[in-house]
C-alpha cells in the first residue's frame, strides 16, 4: 500500500476500541480487555493492505483467511467487518441479543468469519486443513492468519498442530500470538510460566518473530516479511490485556466485566486521549 499513514491507523485503533466498548456496554456482556490487546493486530491486518478481503463475496476462493482462535475476543473483529462492508453497522447494536447476527463467540454464519471458535486450541489445525484442502501450501491462492492468545498456548492441541504444520511445510500460514500476559486468574508468569515462547515455536520448526504488538508499524513490517518465508511463521506480539484503559490494563478481574456508566465515561476519555505506543 503506497503512502501508508500510521497516524491515521492509530486513530482507527481508537475507533475500534470505542466501537467495541460500546458493543459490550449495549450487550452488558463481553470480553473487553482480551479484545483491546489485539486491536493493533486487527488494524495492521485489515487496514494496512495486508489482508486480501472480499466483503462483496465473503466466500471468494482467493480471499485471505483470518481465524481468531481466541474466540472470546473475536467480537472485537465485528466492527472491522461492518466497517469493511460485510454487514450493516446497525448489527453492532444488537450484539448477543435475541435474533442478532452477532454472537458472543464467532460463527461462520457471520459474513467474514471463517470458523467457530470459543473453545481454545483449534485455529491452527483448522487453518492447516483449509490450506491443504484448497491446495494452497505455498500461498499461491491466499494467506491464512491465525490469532492465538498466550493463554491459549497452554493447550496441547496448539502444539500438535504446530508440529504438523511445520512438518508439512505449510508456509502460507502466519500465526500471531496476542501475548497479552494474562489468563483469567492472573498473569501468565505467575500462574504457569511459559518461558521463552519464541524459542518454543522455533523448536517446533516455525519462523518466529517477536514484536511490540501495539506498534502498527512493527506489526505491519513483520507481517509482510512473514509472507516471504518458506516455513509457517509466528509472531509473538507482546501486548497488554486491557490496553488503552488504565484501570483495565493488566487487571485480570476485568476479563469479562462490563463497566458501569462512570467507568465507561472514563474509559472513553482515556481511549480518545490516549497515545498507544
Amino acid at each position: 500500500m503506497a503512502n501508508l499513514d500510521f497516524e491515521v491507523l492509530k486513530e482507527k485503533a481508537k475507533w475500534l476500541r470505542l466501537s467495541y466498548l460500546d458493543m459490550v456496554m449495549n450487550a452488558g456482556q463481553g470480553h473487553i480487555p482480551s479484545g483491546f490487546s489485539m486491536v493493533e493486530i486487527l488494524i495492521s491486518l485489515y487496514y494496512s493492505g495486508l489482508v486480501k478481503y472480499s466483503s462483496k463475496d465473503p466466500n471468494d476462493e482467493y480471499r485471505d483467511r483470518v481465524i481468531v482462535s481466541k474466540g472470546h475476543a473475536a467480537p472485537v473483529l465485528y466492527p472491522v467487518l461492518a466497517d469493511l462492508g460485510y454487514f450493516d453497522t446497525d448489527n453492532l447494536n444488537s450484539f448477543t441479543q435475541e435474533n442478532s447476527l452477532l454472537s458472543m463467540y464467532p460463527d461462520p454464519k457471520i459474513p467474514g468469519i471463517e470458523c467457530v471458535s470459543g473453545s481454545l486450541g483449534h485455529g491452527i489445525g483448522l487453518a492447516s486443513g483449509i490450506t491443504v484442502g484448497m491446495g494452497n501450501l505455498k500461498g499461491d491462492k491466499f494467506h491464512t492468519y491465525v490469532i492465538l492468545g498466550d493463554g491459549e498456548c497452554y493447550e496441547g492441541s496448539v502444539w500438535e498442530s504446530a508440529f504438523f504444520a511445520a512438518a508439512k511445510n505449510i508456509e502460507s500460514i502466519t500465526v500471531i500470538v496476542d501475548a497479552n500476559q494474562y489468563c483469567i486468574l492472573g498473569s501468565i508468569e505467575e500462574c504457569l510460566s511459559q518461558g521463552d515462547l519464541k524459542s518454543k515455536w522455533e523448536a517446533f520448526g516455525w519462523d518466529a518473530h517477536q514484536v511490540n504488538g501495539h506498534s502498527i508499524e512493527e506489526l505491519h513490517t513483520t507481517l509482510k516479511n512473514c509472507k516471504k518465508t518458506n516455513k509457517p511463521s509466528v509472531i509473538i506480539a507482546n501486548t497488554l490485556k486491557g490496553k488503552g484503559v488504565s484501570f483495565m490494563e493488566g487487571q485480570h478481574l476485568w476479563h469479562n466485566r462490563t463497566p458501569n456508566k462512570q467507568e465507561y465515561e472514563i474509559a472513553r476519555t482515556e481511549i480518545l486521549n490516549g497515545n498507544i505506543k
Binding site: 461462520p108 470458523c115 473453545s119 491452527i124 486443513g129 491443504v132 496441547g156 492441541s157 508440529f163
Partner: protein, 310 residues
C-alpha cells in the same frame, strides 16, 4: 470360516478406496493405525492419505479444515483413541459447524482384550451418540461393513461414527445390499427378542446354535443411533426384549432403547439387559474371561434367557 471373509476394517476401507478412484474430494486420515487395505490407498493416493502422527486432536481440527474446503473426510484410528481423545474437537468444532465426516474406530468394546482399560471402550457408543448430529453404526461382519461404507458414501453428507470389531468374524448373512438399520439373524418366535450389535451378535448367535431348545429371535442392530420409529414398532410383537452389549449400561444401547421408548411413549414391557457396568472389572485374560468376571458370559446369557422364558 469362509476364507473369503475379510477383517471389517479391510472390507470398509476397500469400499472407500473404490470411491477414491472416482471421487478426488475424498481424503483419508490415519492416526498411525493400519490395515492391508490402507497400504494400497497410501500407495495409490499419496496426496489424499495423511499420516497425522499419533495426534488425534489435531487430526480432527485438520479434518474440519478439509471439510470447510469441500473435502469428504474419513478419520481412522484405534477406537479407544478416536472419539474420546478428540471429544472436544468433535463437539466444539465439527458438530458446531455441522461438518460432515466419518470416524472409523477399530476394536470397540473389549476388542483389545489383553490390553486392559486403556484400550477398552465400554463408553464409546454412549459418548458418540450424545454428540449433536452424530450417526452411529456397528457392522457385524465384512459384508455389513461394506454396506455401511456404501450407505455413508451414497447418503447426503453427514457426521458418522463407524464402530468396527477388531477380530475376524463370520458372516451373519450371505449378502447385504442396502444397509438396513437392523436385521433378524435368528428367527425363532416372538417370546423374546435378543438385541445386540457387532461382536456380541456373534456371541448370541453361537449361543442360539448351541442351545436350540431356547426359543428366541436375534435382532442385529447395524445403525445404532438415532433409533428409528419403525424399529421400535417392530419390537412390539415381542413379549420381552433382552439387550446384550459390551458397553456400559450407563448410556449404552439398552439405555438408548429405553430413552427412545419413553420419548415415543411406547409401553416399556419386559426389558432386560446383559451389559457392562461403569465399574467394569479388569483382569489379565482374554475376552471370554473378561465377559465372565463382568457377568456377560455365556453362562450369564443362558441364565438370563432361561429366566425370561420361564
Amino acid at each position: 470360516m469362509n476364507s473369503d471373509i475379510k477383517l471389517m476394517r479391510d472390507a470398509f476401507l476397500e469400499r472407500v478406496y473404490q470411491e477414491m478412484l472416482v471421487d478426488e474430494s475424498i481424503y483419508f486420515l490415519t492416526a498411525d493405525f493400519g490395515a492391508f487395505a490402507l497400504d494400497k490407498m497410501r500407495e495409490d493416493f499419496p496426496n489424499r492419505i495423511f499420516h497425522m502422527g499419533i495426534c488425534e486432536q489435531n487430526m480432527v481440527d485438520f479434518a474440519a479444515g478439509l471439510s470447510l474446503s469441500g473435502k469428504r473426510v474419513f478419520l481412522y484410528a484405534m477406537a479407544p483413541f478416536l472419539i474420546a481423545r478428540s471429544y472436544e474437537q468433535i463437539k466444539a468444532v465439527v458438530s458446531a459447524m455441522n461438518l460432515p465426516m466419518t470416524f472409523i474406530g477399530v476394536g470397540v468394546g473389549l476388542g483389545y482384550d489383553h490390553a486392559t482399560l486403556t484400550h477398552f471402550t465400554p463408553e464409546d457408543f454412549a459418548i458418540a451418540r450424545v454428540i449433536r448430529g452424530m450417526n452411529v453404526y456397528t457392522p457385524s461382519d465384512d459384508l455389513s461393513a461394506i454396506a455401511t461404507a456404501e450407505s455413508i458414501l451414497n447418503s447426503s453428507p453427514q457426521l458418522s461414527y463407524v464402530r468396527l470389531e477388531r477380530s475376524l468374524t463370520d458372516r451373519l448373512s450371505l449378502n447385504i445390499k442396502n444397509l438396513p438399520d437392523w436385521r433378524i439373524v435368528h428367527n425363532n418366535g416372538s417370546s423374546l427378542a435378543v438385541i445386540s450389535s457387532g461382536y456380541m451378535t456373534h456371541v448370541v448367535k453361537k449361543f442360539s446354535i448351541s442351545h436350540p431348545s431356547y426359543q428366541f429371535s436375534i435382532l442385529d442392530i447395524l445403525k445404532n443411533y438415532p433409533i428409528k420409529q419403525d424399529l421400535l414398532t417392530s419390537l412390539e410383537i415381542y413379549d420381552s426384549l433382552l439387550i446384550v452389549e459390551e458397553q456400559s449400561i450407563q448410556g449404552g444401547m439398552a439405555a438408548s432403547f429405553c430413552e427412545e421408548l419413553i420419548k415415543h411413549t411406547k409401553s416399556i414391557k419386559n426389558i432386560y439387559t446383559l451389559a457392562l457396568d461403569r465399574d467394569i472389572q479388569i483382569e489379565n485374560g482374554n475376552r471370554e474371561k473378561l465377559h465372565e468376571i463382568n457377568n456377560i458370559s455365556y453362562i450369564d446369557l443362558e441364565e438370563k434367557i432361561k429366566g425370561i422364558l420361564s
